[in-house]
Every structure is written in C-alpha cells, then in structure tokens.
C-alpha cells in the first residue's frame, strides 16, 4: 500500500495515510482532516478549501477561494488568500491575487502576483488555541 505523509492543519502532528485516503482523524487533536489532493481545471468558487494534501490549478483552471493547504501549484488563475505548510509554486503564465503565508515560495518568470507575502521556512503556521473568554464557563445568573 502506497502511503504519504501529511501534517495536521490544527496541531501539526505528522500523519501517515494511504494515498487513496480521502480523510482521516488526527489522533492528537481529534480534528477530522481532509487529505485529498485537488485539481482545479475549470472555474470554481468556494469560500474555503482546507486539505492536508495539495491543490493544483491547471492552466485552464480559475479558482476563487481561501486556501489552507500543504502545497499549492498554480498554473492558471487564483484569487484568494493562501496559507500553505509546504510550498507555493506560481508558474510562468499563472496569475495570483491574494495574500500568501507559506514556508516556501517559488515564482517563475512571467507570473503575475499581487498581495501580501510572508515567506519564512521557520514560520509558525499552526494557530495557537485562544484562551476561553473570562466567564465563558460561568453559569448565567438570572437577571434580577
């Protein structure tokens, strides 16, 4: 059985899954994770795409979505912010509009890029859980 290594988007735990797996559960944080690889070949609009796998936008593909992925490979057109634990690649004829937060970035000559970039291999991408607001667990007192 062929396997691949993915990282939990929520806690960063390294997980080994079958390449045929669609989703898995993180044994550490118990979040359900999509581990699919997506390929966008036509016009697609989504609010958020979250996967521990990769997203590829082919030259004919046009994606409007916020992405939280491992790797992103753009050959077509993308609009939306991207957070990538791995690498973002923008090829020569690609167009990208949005913010990029990633460990690695490759931009090839001819690509159009517009947005804020934070590219740092030591970047901490996993959000730290915010503490519960004060009194969130307190019992509600009846109004007098």
């Amino acid at each position: 059985m062929q396997e691949k290594t993915v990282y939990c988007l929520h806690c960063g735990k390294e997980l080994i899954v079958s390449i045929r797996a669609v989703s898995t559960g993180c044994p550490v944080c118990n979040h359900r994770l999509s581990v699919e690889d997506f390929t966008v070949t036509s016009i697609l609009s989504r609010s958020l795409i979250e996967t521990c796998g990769s997203v590829t936008i082919t030259p004919s593909g046009m994606l409007r979505a916020c992405l939280r992925v491992n790797n992103l490979f753009v050959e077509g057109d993308h609009q939306g912010n991207v957070t990538a634990a791995g690498k973002v690649t923008i090829t020569a004829d690609a167009s990208f509009a949005g913010d990029i937060i990633a460990h690695r970035l490759e931009v090839r000559d001819g690509a159009l890029v517009k947005g804020f970039c934070r590219i740092d291999p030591q970047l901490e991408l996993i959000p730290t859980p915010s503490p519960a607001p004060a009194g969130a667990n307190a019992k509600r007192q009846p109004a007098k």
């Binding site: 690695r104 490759e106 931009v107 000559d109 001819g110 517009k114 970039c117």
Partner: protein, 150 residues
Amino acid sequence: MISGENKVSDNDFPTIIGPDASFKGELSFEKGVKILGSFEGRISTKGNLVVAAEGAIQADVEAGTITVEGEINGNISAGDLVELKNSARLQGDLRCERLIVVDGAHFVGHCNVGSDAAGEAASPKKAPVQAPQPVYKPPQTNIDSNKTAD
C-alpha cells in the same frame, strides 16, 4: 576583490561596494552596482543592482533590474526584473514587472508584479492636481443704493 565565485565583468558592474565597506547616503548611477558590504540610505538607478550573499542594505531602491542574494530592508521597485535567490532575505514592499523567486528565499511584504506595477514604478507619483477652488466673494453692499431718492 573580484575573484573566485564573485567573478563579474567590469562592464556590467563598474561600481562595487566591497565586503568591508559600509556606505550611508544616497546612491545614483547609470550602469550597475554590486553591493557586497552594507548600505544604508537610498538607491536610484536605471541600471542593475546586485546585492550579493554577504551584502546587507537598508534602503529604498529604484532600479531597472534587482538581483538579491543577500538582505534588503526597505521597499524595492524595478522597471523590469526582480530576482530573489534562495539565500535572499527581503523585508519590504516589492513592485516590478517581472519577478523570479527561487525556493528558499525569505520575503515579507506586499508584492505587486505586472506591467501596471512597473509603469507606476517607472513614473514617480505626482501629487494630485487640485481643481481651483472658487473664491467666495461676499456681496458688497452698494452704499449709493441706500440713498433715498429725493
């Protein structure tokens, strides 16, 4: 100074700021400059700028072509090409017509790549021309009109 890996032709880079040099101020040139040392201030040129791996500059840069192997703190603007090598560290906004980023480069800042961005970079921003404001003139009272007709 120029030996081994740092081979450059004198025609390409007639100006070289050496690794032991530290320059502070405004630098403008025509052809090209290679910075191996440290620089602080402002760079303006139509030619090529190369920041070598050991070079570090803290400056706003306007140039034709910018190749970064070292560290830049400041906004950079190129009429043609910006190339960030794998050892590059750029902290600042970037505006150019063509961009090449090699895997491994560090970059934090806004990025605007394309012919429109290069056009804005080539022509400095002009202050918006304000339309002339109409001057308010208070109605003058005609003293003669107050005269009572006899």
